[in-house]
Amino acid sequence: MAKIWVYAEQSQGRPASTALELLTRARDLGDVDAIVLGPGARAAAPALGAHGAGRVLVSEDAAFVEYLAEPATDCLASLVPEASPDLILFAFSPDSREVAGRLAARLGTGLISNAADVTARDGGFTASVPYFGGAKVAAYRANARPAIVLVRPKSFEASECGGEAEVVEVDAAVGEGSRRAHIVETRTEAGDKVKLEDARVVVSGGRGLGGPENFHYVEELADALGGAAGASRAVVDAGWVPYAMQVGQTGKTVRPGVYIAAGISGAMQHTVGMKGSKVIVAINKDPDAPILKMADLGVVGDALKILPKLTEAVKARKGG
């Protein structure tokens, strides 16, 4: 049996949803160990076991939450030689990709990032990697052992298999020289809104809205629908809205029941993050905008005129 590792992110004992997604896939590929680090790690073990981890390797050392990337890299790198996993799966998330990058460089293995699936074949692993905005999929054969693959969030639906994990304490193995990028403070800015990746309806805005002063039209419609507001990279980069709202390759991946794209042209960067939506509605002034070619309903028109009317109409129907 192939030996699969899943690097499981956790926060205060709650495993990240990406960890459960990865385990659900990993259990079909071989024997699975989850590696979970930081204070609270042990509390995450039962959920990880229920999703397919046979063993959960834990270290609750505080260095894992006090310093960026390096302590986790040290711990993983210290375990690899003896355990010699065939495949290490990471989420393609900001924290995991930093650890994966350092680990792949330290081991000299390289990695495959941005994968949508991983399969076992002929004693090795093949990753499917969408590119060109998700219009094409490349099959990459991993050459290195361990193979390191980063998988996009929401690529698999997490499901339990009723397993129970053996919890194994491991040495943190954090080098003294690795306590460098010190997190001295964490500040919260976002309010208690519906989480973008969990919303049933997502309304996203792009450059076509003209300026940040018009973005409230997107938020008002999202609120009226009980959904969440998102944005394209272009307007996040322009500073209209925070990065947490970005939908796309380097932002969130969303799969809501309805996705409404207002003033978004449909750049590859964006579409790869929303093409899994059940129904896509696009509003765009430009009849040649690529987004209209993938929308179930495309409306050629001015989002600034349509959005407020739509919000009123939704409110009228919900109220009455």
Binding site: A69, G110, T126, A139, Y140, I183, R187, V201, Y243, M294
Partner: protein
């Protein structure tokens, strides 16, 4: 203070993309200095203005990537290093990081600045690899950066807000596009850039061998395509009506 900024030439993000016959992203398009790297250069220049020192641009790419370096030099950077070698064509993230590390290491920079991710690849894997190979701490997703004697502090953008992260220098930071508005090159800057040094080196000069790539392409397929549905032209009412219809059918309202 010596600052190295990595820069990359990418297909113009504002121009439509295309594929070549072999299914690779077409490279014959208009190319520009990566907009994310312009922000990195801007921060480098601001730090130099505050603390003195030198800003060095390092790029790996075809000979044409000299234009990207030249643009950064006209913004005010001091000199450039262009790593160009047919051997490096199609390099994966690790080979790119190894090559950049070989060129940047001897500079003994106090700070290495990268964009969080490139506009074309958008996977952001090179910076953490580069930090590892250079033996530096990485301070990532910076939307604010400050350097005070021997210490670099960033505001690291997160889901819910930001973290204040500090590390001793030397260090590597990745900056987000929102960190600073890149300056325009002045005419004087453009003139001055012509006489600034751009050193050209090969993989051999740096002692970098290609090594084994992380992956082998087994095949390319079309993804399950979403086909276009109905497209209507809004006349003031039909747009709203149609969208309401979709929302009702999806039982959202």
């Amino acid at each position: 203070m010596k600052i190295v900024v990595t820069v990359k030439q990418v297909p113009d993000p504002n121009a439509p993309q295309g594929l070549d016959a072999d299914n690779t992203i077409a490279r014959d398009r208009e190319v520009v200095l990566d907009p994310g790297d312009e922000c990195g250069i801007e921060i480098g220049l601001q730090l130099k203005e505050a603390h003195g020192g030198e800003v060095v641009l390092v790029s790996m790419g075809p000979e044409k990537a000299r234009d990207a370096i030249r643009k950064g030099l006209s913004m005010g950077a001091d000199r450039g290093i262009l790593i160009t070698d047919d051997q490096l064509a199609g390099a994966d993230a690790l080979l790119t990081a190894r090559t950049l590390a070989a060129a940047i290491g001897p500079e003994s920079a106090d700070l290495v600045i990268c964009a969080t991710e490139s506009y074309d690849g958008s996977t952001g894997m090179v910076p953490p690899m580069l930090a590892e190979l250079l033996g530096l701490p990485q301070l990532t997703f910076a939307k604010h950066v400050q350097v005070t004697d021997g210490k670099v502090t960033v505001h690291r953008q997160t889901e819910a807000g930001y973290q204040v992260v500090e590390a001793p220098t030397p260090g590597l930071i990745t900056v987000t596009a929102g960190i600073a508005e890149p300056r325009y090159a002045s005419l004087k800057g453009i003139m001055a850039a012509r006489s600034k040094e751009v050193r050209v080196v090969t993989a051999g000069d740096l002692g970098v061998d290609r090594g084994q790539p992380a992956e082998t392409v087994e095949g390319i397929a079309d993804a399950e395509a979403r086909s276009a549905g109905e497209v209507v032209e809004d006349d003031g009412t039909i747009g709203v009506e149609k969208i309401i219809g979709v929302l009702q059918a999806a039982k959202v309202i």
